[in-house]
């Protein structure tokens, strides 16, 4: 009887613990979603973080409006960045586009802007070039700030329309492609994951193969294993410092994608080596013996029998690594920087989603934005998890029936 009572008691504790874990989980995910979901929309995902300014050179021409005013009013692109309603757009013939005035607000500033809401099919804006004569993209939703040196700050919509209408010939228009999105961070994150895995996976996996299959077990291997274990607890900022001293300064790679991914690759190595070693060790000896007894060489045995069997374990390592790269902030801050842009080359800086979230939380105190980025990170982690699961199931001959 007393056993029943104590069993029940323990069971209750187990349920309690699981309940705690689950509620913590729901709480955190809930917190992130509630705070951040309001900011998530297509613009958020598809735009750059910073506004990008350009001077467009345009040949003015008379383009008649081909639709009526009501249709024009309907062409106001919905955008929840605009907290106050847009004014009715006015059409300006010589640039073949309609402009509306909006009040732009974010969590620290509020300003008036003039936004292009409609562009005629043969508008000269569509042929805009920059000062080099390279084609420039101008689209609806772009902000227009000045024309031929006439700045629109403090003007009303009517004044702006007449200012533009008064210009003719060659026009120099300052346009701003609105930012506020995290496209560049998403892409930088994917680059970073890809690059650091490309560097760390072969090194880690082949290294682990050497350590388990070739190296004579002994002190040396144990020391390496111990060092790897210890490094797992070292804060990544220290890796960042090393990356900065070695890759950024000594090798002169600058603050860049490559410095960042090399540094993260080093962070990943201990994880990959340890998990791969474990995975290799769990491959039953009888498979190795079976293969060798059939006259296979050691290498054939490793590649044809041992590695395929170890796939699920290695996949776990890959999963952990992806999580680690995506979640890394301190080390990347010092080696890849905080520039919210798509890195043009391996040697350009770029900030991952997490670095961006860290940055906006720390510098701007913008918790909502950090959480919105958090949601994107969680989605990316889920997608990458599922992808690598699928990949590993495809490769996993061991459990295939």
């Amino acid at each position: 009887m007393s056993r029943r009572v104590s069993d029940l008691f323990i069971k209750a504790i187990i349920y309690l613990a699981t309940g705690i874990t689950l509620s913590v989980l729901i709480f955190i995910i809930g917190f992130i979603f509630v705070k951040g979901i309001g900011l998530i929309n297509w613009d958020f995902l598809s735009r750059d973080f910073n506004d990008s300014v350009a001077y467009a050179f345009v040949e003015s021409s008379d383009v008649p409006l081909s639709i009526d005013q009501n249709t024009l009013n309907d062409k106001i692109p919905y955008d929840n960045r605009y907290e106050t309603a847009l004014t009715k757009p006015s059409y300006v013939k010589n640039i073949g586009a309609a402009i509306a005035q909006v009040t732009f607000k974010n969590h620290s500033t509020e300003k008036q802007q003039f936004v292009i809401t409609y562009i005629e099919a043969d508008s000269p804006l569509l042929k805009a070039v920059d000062s080099n004569g390279t084609k420039l993209k101008v689209g609806t939703d772009y902000v227009i700030e000045s024309i031929n040196g006439n700045d629109f700050t403090d003007m009303s919509l009517a004044e702006v329309v007449s200012t533009i209408g008064n210009q003719s010939g060659k026009l120099k228009i300052k346009i701003v492609q609105p930012g506020g999105g995290i496209k560049s961070n998403i892409i930088t994150t994917l680059y970073m994951v890809l690059l650091s895995l490309v560097i760390a996976l072969p090194l880690g996996i082949f290294g682990a193969i050497y350590l388990t299959e070739y190296a004579k077990p002994g002190k040396m291997v144990n020391v390496i294993r111990f060092a790897a274990e210890c490094l797992a607890g070292i804060p990544s900022i220290i890796f960042g410092l090393f990356g900065m001293a070695f890759f950024v300064v000594a090798l002169n790679f600058q603050i860049s994608l490559i410095s960042g991914s090399l540094t993260v690759a080093i962070i990943l190595l201990p994880v990959i080596i340890r998990s791969t070693e474990e995975a290799l060790k769990t491959v039953p000896m009888i498979f190795r013996e079976g293969s060798l007894a059939l006259g296979a060489t050691k290498l054939q045995t490793i590649f044809k029998v041992v590695l395929p069997c170890a796939v699920p374990g290695i996949a776990t390592a890959v999963l952990l690594s992806i999580g680690r790269v995506v979640g890394e902030s301190a080390a990347l801050l010092l080696t890849a920087g905080t520039a919210a842009q798509i890195p043009g080359t391996l040697f350009s800086p770029g900030s991952t989603l997490t670095v961006q979230a860290y940055y906006v939380a720390k510098e701007e105190g913008n918790i909502e934005l950090a959480c919105a980025i958090g949601i994107v990170i969680i989605v990316i982690v889920i997608v990458l998890n599922i992808l690598s699961r699928i990949a590993s199931d495809k490769l996993d001959v061991f459990n295939k029936k």
């Binding site: 009888i286 079976g290 059939l294 295939k400 029936k401």
Partner: protein, 252 residues
């Protein structure tokens, strides 16, 4: 003895670290015969068997003294261990098919040797399965995983896999201990027919089995070969008291 001697060991000692598992083994094993090793658990049967294709290389602590001549050449000498193992195949106590398709299991060895021709491989796979008396049971599921086979089928698959290498010698370490009588019968039949072409060495716990299928029997005890002789002699008229004690135990 008119048959050719395939294996000849001379004063073979084997140590696992400090522990001596084999003590001065001298044995001549003839071609195209079945030789059985019997003896209580831990007496060194498997260890000796694994010496013959240098499987013990995989265990770091093993040290070997003495000579093992295979067709007159010392296998611990200059010989290439890979080609030794292609000539001396091995079937293990626990069936250990690879986690691949049945076809791939059989083709594994030949492919490792560099054989690529699909038609040659197909024929080889079929022939080996036929010889191992497994063809009929699996011919419709060659591309299914070998892990889906029953224990007895898996063991025959492992034998087929070995036959596909066309070795000269097949070592078998208690190949039927995990099997039921019907599967055991099939494998014993198989051994009898294989002995036309191959030299077979088998470790077994079953006195009956040794009696049924082997030409010669060696009795191991504590790392020594106590007696090695024609099977009928061992079972009816052993020289050594210890052999007799073991044989006449009521068990099988």
């Amino acid at each position: 003895m008119d048959k050719k001697i395939k294996f000849n060991t001379k004063n073979l000692d084997l140590f696992y670290g400090d522990f001596q598992a084999l003590k001065s083994i001298n044995m001549e094993i003839c071609e195209k015969e079945v030789t059985a090793f019997i003896g209580p658990s831990g007496c060194g049967k498997s260890t000796f068997l694994r010496c013959l294709n240098r499987m013990n290389d995989l265990i770091d602590s093993v040290k070997i003294k003495g000579e093992i001549l295979f067709d007159g050449n010392d296998i611990n000498g200059d010989i290439d261990v890979i080609s030794l193992r292609t000539r001396v195949g091995m079937v293990f106590q626990k069936p250990n098919p690879f986690p691949m398709s049945i076809y791939e299991n059989i083709a594994y060895g030949p492919k490792c040797q560099g054989m690529k021709d699909k038609t040659v491989l197909d024929t080889l796979v079929k022939e080996s399965l036929v010889k191992a008396a497994l063809w009929d049971e699996v011919k419709d599921r060659l591309n299914k995983s070998a892990l889906g086979l029953s224990g007895g089928q898996q063991q025959r698959l492992c034998i087929a896999r070995t036959i596909a290498m066309n070795p000269e010698v097949i070592l078998m370490d208690e190949p039927t201990s995990a099997l039921d009588p019907i599967a055991t019968a099939k494998i014993e039949d198989l051994m009898s027919s294989l002995k036309q072409d191959y030299t077979i060495i088998i470790v077994t716990h079953s006195m009956q089995q040794a009696g049924r299928i082997s030409d010669k029997t060696a009795f191991f005890l504590m790392g020594e070969v106590i007696e090695f002789n024609e099977t009928p002699v061992i079972f009816t008229n052993p020289n050594d008291k210890r052999t007799e004690d073991y044989i006449t135990g009521r068990f099988g």
